[in-house]
Amino acid sequence: MASVQALQAPQHAYDDHDALVDDYHGRGWTDGLPIVAPTPEKVAHFLAVAGLHGDEILGLVPTREVTVTAEQVAINAVMAGCRPEYLPAVIAAVKAHLHEKANCHSTTGTLSGAFQMVIVNGPARGNLDIACEGACFGPGFRANATIGRALRLVIRNACRAIPGFLDRASFSTPARYSMCFGEDEEGSGPTWTPMHVERGFDATDSTVTVQSVMVVVPATDFMARTPEAVCDTLVSTIRSKGSSGDVFLGGSGEIVVVIGPEHRRFFLEAGWSKADIRANVHPRITAPDGPGRPVKFPDDEPERLLLVAAGGAGMGESWVFIPHLSRAITEPIRSVTIASAELLEDRP
C-alpha cells in the first residue's frame, strides 16, 4: 500500500457508502450523479501515482478568494470516477482553466451557462484510452467522461460555481456534466499538424487544451465535395453567430472547429493543411461586412481559429464552438514521476 501522505481536507465518517453518497448530495458536493467515495487512502493513492504533493497550488480564482490545490483536485477526480492515471490530465485541465485568460470567474458565473471543453492531444490519448473518433463527444468512454466530469466538479466544489450562488446560468447545459475528447491525430494523415504542435509543443508531448464555450453549432453539409465548399459551410456557420471582441483578451477568444472525417477527407485528398483552411476561412469570418456577424479576431492572429480532427464516419458534419470570454489554454500533461506499476498493484 502506498503511504498515505498528510492530507488537509476535513474528514467525514459514515456508516456505509450509501450514507456517504447521500450526504455528499445533500451538501451540494456533486453534479447530481452518484460519486465514488473519496477516501483518504484512495486520494493519497491518486496523488502518489501522479507524483504530486497534495499542497501543490494549481491556481487561484482571486475574485472568489479561492486557492485550488492538487489535493482538492484529486478528491474531485476520485469522486468523478477517474482512474488514478487520469489525474495528470485532470491536473493539466484545471491549470489551464485557472489561467488568467481562461477567465474562470466569468466563464463559470455567466448567465449564458458556458461550459469547459477539454481536448487531449499526444500519446496520452492512447495511454488513457481517450475516444477521438465515433461518438467522441458523448457517453460511453470512461476517460472522456470522468476527466471532463472531474474538471466540472473542481469548478463546482473548489471554485464555488454552484447554481444559484456564483453560477448564475439561466439554463446551463448538459455539456457541463462532462465535455472531453481527443484529437484524431492518426486519422488526419501527415498533412495536418496536431493542434498541440501548432501551439508550440512537440508531437511526443501530451497536452490538454481547455476552452470555455458559449455557443455550439453543427456545420452540417452533405453536399460539399471540395475543400472550398466545406470552407463555405464553415464560414456561414461561424458567421451565423460571430464572436465579440474583448480588450482583456485582445479580441475574440479562440473558436474551435472540430472537423469530422467526411469533411476532412476533401481537405486531405486535395492536400490542404490546417494553415490552408485558415487562409481561406479567416479573412471571410473576420470581414466586417457580409452576412451574419463577424468574428473579432486580431487581423494577424489567424491561429485563433483552432482546427481539430475528430469524430466518426458517415455524417457530413463538423462542429463549431464559439467561446465565452476566454482564451483557449494548452497545458502539458505532466509525466508520472513515480513508477506507477507497483502502486497500481496496491490500488485500493
Binding site: L7, A9, P10, Q11, H12, A13, Y14, D15, D16, H17, A19, L20, Y24, W29, A37, P38, T39, P40, V43, E65, V66, T67, V68, T69, E71, Q72, I75, N76, M79, N103, S106, L111, L153, N157, A158, C159, R160, I162, F165, R168, D246, V247, F248, L249, L325
Partner: protein, 95 residues
C-alpha cells in the same frame, strides 16, 4: 465505517462577511456614478436608470463610465474620477 474527504476549497459558511457599503439617507445633493460593463445595451440601461432616479432626486452631478471589457475594472483614470468625485456608484453585471 467509511471516511470521505471534503472536496471543497473551504466552507461557504466561513466566507468573510464583507458587509455592504453605507447607504446615504438621501441622494439629493450627491454625485452619482454609473459604471456600465459594455455588454449589450448596458449604457442605455444606466442612462434610463439615471433618468428614473432624477425624477425624485436633485443630483449634484453624474459620472458615466463605460468599461472597455466586462473582464477588467475601469481604466485607472476612470477609477480615480469615481473615487474622488462620486458620492455613490451604481454598477451591474451580466448581459
Amino acid at each position: 465505517m467509511i471516511v470521505g474527504l471534503d472536496p471543497t476549497s473551504g466552507s461557504l459558511d466561513k466566507l468573510p462577511d464583507k458587509g455592504t457599503a453605507l447607504r446615504p439617507k438621501t441622494l439629493d445633493g450627491t454625485v452619482i456614478a454609473f459604471i456600465a460593463n459594455g455588454l449589450g445595451r448596458g449604457v442605455d440601461l444606466m442612462d434610463a436608470l439615471y433618468a428614473e432616479l432624477s425624477r425624485d432626486t436633485a443630483f449634484a452631478g453624474a459620472i458615466k463610465v463605460k468599461k472597455n471589457s466586462v473582464s477588467i475594472p475601469p481604466e485607472p483614470d476612470d477609477w480615480e474620477r469615481i473615487l474622488s468625485e462620486a458620492t455613490v456608484a451604481v454598477t451591474g453585471f451580466g448581459g
